[in-house]
């Protein structure tokens, strides 16, 4: 598997526990990932050893905290292969990152009659901000559909694009279907029409290495808590040329240059988009999380998780009368499914009784539910600290539950 599984499990002591008397199997990784020890160590360090508010400080702790925070920015920059550190904005999560663009980009560029394109498989975080922007600016939201197999109907993209299309927002990986979307192609087509593209990377960064310069995407958003980092921290990458011309999002300390009641001027990038005291502890700990996965190697992680996906998919299909939603060959370790006619709430509740944590419900993707005409789904999602043995437990649990209905 390319890395020492036993060693890795030791980094995640939370996994070694029993839930409802069964060994805990955590298959809710797409909702939030567990955090390795180094991340908690970093949080501890910046609470118990060094702590002061960052920027403008002339004292030791303020200087050290500022350096650690800015160093975390460099780590993210290298991780995403961005051109410049000024293009890395610390936000509070994918949702805030997308909202930032939907507010600031649209304030600058969106006018009555313009259009925005999203896809049918987006998470609500990549739909609602655009809907709200369209409402504010009297623009129209257009939707690229996906096939029942869970793949974007790429042949329709050109037909949706018009001269009024101002931005295209699409998930790198779907949080329900697991599909890895052909974003290179989407970006190429969009750019041939001079349309910028925002990539929602919430479900991709934990599982693949990203090169925003190669992709040539204009914005890339992700959340710390899904990549083994802390909650309350996220990233927006944006091309400098766009970030430069966009108006600020939030106003407050640090994002300004000079404030007078007559006229306020704004600070340079990246500070222009980081108003107020940032979640500096979270940012610093996110840096550690990223270094942690880099040390293991994202390629190794991707390969191992793919093995888990295949193993689970085969086992599940062997159960019969089990429908998997999303069967693209390009897929990450996310399996949404339906077992017999069992309601996902029942299934989730009973799996929990057997120690297995999955997510059930509408998965923040109502349009995907509507597509398959279901009211809810059950989702199992894997991380590199999961194992085939855990999948076996999961399969056994499904069999046992099935027999109860």
């Amino acid at each position: 598997m390319g890395f020492n599984f036993q060693d890795i499990r030791k980094d995640f002591p939370i996994l070694d526990q029993r839930v409802n008397k069964h060994p805990w199997v955590y298959f809710d990784n797409a909702a939030t990932a567990q955090r390795p020890k180094v991340v908690l160590e970093k949080i501890r360090e910046f609470s118990v050893i060094t702590n002061a508010n960052i920027h403008r400080g002339t004292h030791d702790h303020a200087i050290r905290t500022t350096e650690a925070y800015e160093n975390a920015r460099d780590i993210v920059k290298e991780f995403l292969h961005a051109e410049a550190r000024e293009e890395i904005i610390f936000t509070h999560g994918t949702t805030e990152s997308i909202n930032l663009v939907a507010r600031s980009f649209c304030e600058k560029f969106l006018t009555t009659g313009d259009e925005i394109i999203v896809t049918e498989m987006e998470h609500h975080a990549n739909i609602v901000p655009w809907q709200m922007a369209c409402e504010r600016h009297q623009a129209t939201l257009k939707v690229l559909p996906f096939s029942d197999k869970g793949e974007l109907r790429m042949e329709l993209l050109e037909t949706l694009i018009t001269k009024r299309t101002k931005i295209i927002a699409v998930a790198h990986v779907s949080n329900t279907l697991g599909t890895v979307n052909p974003i290179e192609e989407i970006i190429q087509i969009a750019h041939s029409h001079n349309i910028p593209v925002l990539i929602d990377g919430a479900q991709s960064v934990p599982h693949a290495s990203i090169d925003v310069q190669k992709l040539d995407c204009d914005f890339y958003a992700f959340s710390g808590h899904k990549i083994y980092g802390p909650t309350g921290i996220g990233i927006l990458y944006g091309k400098r040329s766009l970030l430069e011309v966009m108006p600020p999002f939030l106003g407050g300390g640090e994002m300004i240059d000079q404030v007078t009641f007559k006229k306020t001027t704004y600070n340079e990038l990246p500070h222009k988009f980081e108003a107020g005291t940032p979640h500096y502890v979270g940012a610093i700990a996110l840096g550690s999380a990223i270094q942690y996965v880099q040390n293991i190697g994202l390629d190794k992680i991707a390969a191992y998780e793919h093995q888990l996906l295949n193993y689970a998919t085969n086992q599940m299909k062997a159960l019969g009368d089990l429908q998997i939603f999303g069967e693209s060959p390009a897929k990450t370790g996310v399996i949404c499914f339906k077992l017999d006619q069992i309601h996902p709430f029942d299934l989730g509740t009973l799996l929990d009784q057997l120690g297995i944590a999955v997510r059930t419900g509408r998965l923040c993707a109502d349009p995907v539910m509507d597509h398959y005409q279901v009211t809810a789904m059950t989702r199992a999602s894997f991380a590199f600290y999961n194992s085939e043995e855990e999948i076996d437990l999961f399969i056994k649990a499904l069999q046992r539950i099935r027999s109860m209905f």
Partner: protein, 143 residues
């Protein structure tokens, strides 16, 4: 039987099961046995929305007693609904208002009624109490 007696009976029933999975099996059974409500009543007005499962609640007055019918799309929830109906249906508004469905706690299913759960059960209890209050006020006005 009084509300309290019914609750005690339910608690006794459940005490027979040691294993959680057996409790749930029993709940599923209860859910399966619950008479479905007429599809015509499964409308938005009767819908109690939880994020995960839906509950439809229907009421009518029979003399001085309030009769409830209910259903859910999730079977475990339906089982719980059946228990709540046993406790609350066919009672006077005052009995309903005075009652506390403590059996849920006693049989260890408290978490299904917590305000942070999204299965609609908490909302169902609230709704039952609201109906009771409304009928009580209407009937006191009549007098």
């Amino acid at each position: 039987m009084t509300i309290e007696e019914v609750q005690q009976e339910i608690i006794a029933d459940f005490s027979a099961y040691e294993d959680w999975m057996d409790k749930y099996t029993y709940l599923i059974e209860l859910g399966n046995e619950l008479a479905p409500i007429d599809d015509a009543f499964k409308n938005d007005q009767n819908l109690i929305r939880g994020c995960q499962s839906r509950v439809w609640l229907q009421q009518k007055l029979d003399g001085e007693f309030l009769i409830f019918e209910a259903e859910s799309d999730a079977l475990i929830v339906k089982g719980l609904v059946a228990l709540l109906l046993k406790v609350f249906s066919g009672r006077t508004p005052q009995e309903i208002l005075d009652a506390d469905p403590h059996f849920i706690d006693a049989i260890g299913l408290r978490q299904h009624l917590s305000p942070t759960r999204s299965n609609g059960l908490m909302a169902m209890v609230k709704q039952i109490k609201l109906y009771a209050l409304a009928y009580k006020q209407i009937s006191s006005q009549k007098k």
